[in-house]
Symmetry: C2
Subunit: 336 residues, 2 copies
């Protein structure tokens, strides 16, 4: 352990709406001390996720970020110093390392990765929190049956891409919604979506007519990552017995305004079951999820599209692109 | 069978907002012919329910009423003529007799009441559709546990009074919301509510402060019969793991405007499970519901408050009072 500095990304100021790189500060800090019983970790990969915008706004249950704070985030890291028998130097772990090169943790805060992991970053994407989110909401909450019509907005993002692929593996008919032709083509050609609506190709009325065309019998499952007008549009097109998973409000993350939700009469008419999803509630079932998905990931039946950036200094740029919906797949920073 | 005329209530014109008695026409029509294989029934009791306002507006899944039509409605009736071996003259049945004295049915459309029924009208209230609605939503969908905080709006109505009593029998803490001091006193003193908020005693801000005071740990179950501002207010106060049963939108029945629902972020935060309830879906479990509730009804542990009017000619007046929220308990017309 010979590093003398610890590159960090801090919040410089609260963004006004959509974040810009100037809202962040990249600077070297000291490498933290590995105290008694602690473990010093070197970040290999950092996960960037839309929920971080809510942390900055003070609206997320997992933590709050204020100017001057190092940004929070989940990481895959290598143990570089250890004052605990629980880990050895060189072990790979998953932890809340934040946007920095080095972090210290108590052993209980570290989650060991399986030995001989080929793609450690997968434990931040298809086999990590986004994957668990998709699996919890789609499989455990919505319980898809073969033939169900499943609609997924943000269809090629970290969570959405996994929802779409899991639904296809269950024999569902899957319609995505994504921003731009490239994403829509990728959704159909690579992820196996039956169709994907380009939300940038028309207004909400046009999106509604596309939903009518592609889901003439209604929507059995809507996995909602975006809220807003799309949630209202899909709620008007639910089949009887529909399930709606409420998992995110990406359409409003950059805004302090909060719109309303669908009229309750729509959900009564569909006898819908609507589930609020917070992935942390399913932490105790993470091993079960990994065991269920690992074979399909290894065989390539589940593809992992990563939007990977080299170097921590690019994290602000990558995060801003994510918050503008310009990412293709799960955003990951390769830190070391 | 010697009756020569059949008093009927027809819709005279579409109400403009809140219905008035002038929107209905009471007139004698012919007693319908009991055709081959059919059963002629004489109405004893007619049930009046808020959903009828939606039928008039053409917004209900159970049927549509236009000017000139006899109003639809569930009835308890006596068989007075029968060209089928399935029933005998004198049998008591439950059927869709509508707002009239006599109606004909095929035998399959009739549901026999148990022999020796003391209070036949109960099969339109606590042991009928409103009771099944309450039981399906509270017991089967929301699954209350002892100690849960349950909030019920329209707390003394046909459905609400049953929800409140069932929740108390399950050991819940039950807070009602009702319009007026008399109803609130009745809710607490007769139905066993722990508290009841008089929604006429203040504005929505005051109701919210009352909810905060009475449910300091949040609301575990909200049985929603009213929609609108109350649904939004309660959704802001849900405990983690809350269940919301969406069962009616009484606050909007007299209006053609449709407001929005709660912001989905509220339901995500609470990890809420939200269920759209249509009682017809639980028809196959009606016997199970009656078997579960009959002992408590017979022992008086479940009370049946009926707002009973004598004579079919009073149905328009009674319905208009119901739609203004002036009823105390389940509205029933004693026709014969």
């Amino acid at each position: 352990m010979t590093a003398t500095e610890n590159l960090q990304v801090k919040l410089a100021r609260f963004p006004d709406g959509e974040p810009t790189p100037d809202d962040f500060e990249v600077a070297a800090g000291p490498v933290p001390e590995c105290g008694a019983g602690q473990v010093l970790c070197e970040t290999l990969f950092l996960s960037l996720d839309p929920y971080m915008r809510s942390q900055i706004a003070g609206r997320h249950i997992s933590g709050t970020i204020a100017p001057g704070d190092v940004m929070l985030g989940e990481t895959v890291a290598r143990v570089v110093q250890c004052d605990s028998g629980a880990f050895q130097v060189g072990d790979l772990v998953r932890c809340q390392g934040g946007w920095q090169q080095y972090s210290v943790h108590s052993p209980e805060a570290l989650h060991r990765l399986p030995a001989n992991v080929v793609s450690p970053s997968y434990y931040l994407s298809v086999l990590g929190m986004p994957g668990l989110t998709a699996y919890s909401g789609l499989i455990w909450q919505a319980q898809p049956k073969a033939g169900d019509v499943v609609v997924v907005a943000a269809a090629t993002g970290g969570v959405g891409a996994m929802v779409g692929q899991l639904a296809k593996l269950r024999g569902c008919r899957v319609v995505g919604i994504a921003g731009g032709e490239t994403k829509c083509r990728y959704a159909v050609e690579q992820l196996g979506y039956d169709a994907c609506i380009d939300r940038r190709a028309g207004d909400i009325g046009w999106i509604e007519s596309e939903l009518d065309r592609l889901c003439p019998e209604g929507v059995d499952i809507y996995f909602d990552l975006v809220g807003g007008a799309l949630l209202n549009a899909v709620s008007q097109r639910l089949a009887v017995g529909a399930r709606v998973v409420l998992c995110g409000i990406m359409s409003e993350l950059n805004s302090s305004d909060r719109g309303a939700g669908p009229h309750p009469g729509l959900w009564i008419k569909a006898r819908a079951s609507v589930y609020g999803l917070v992935v942390y509630d399913f932490e105790s079932r993470r091993d079960e999820f990994i065991a269920a998905c690992l074979p399909a990931v290894e065989s390539g039946d589940i593809q992992c599209l990563e939007d990977c950036y080299e170097g921590l200094a690019r994290a602000p740029e990558a995060f801003c692109r994510l918050m503008r919906g310009e990412n293709m797949g799960k955003v990951v920073i390769k830190v070391a």
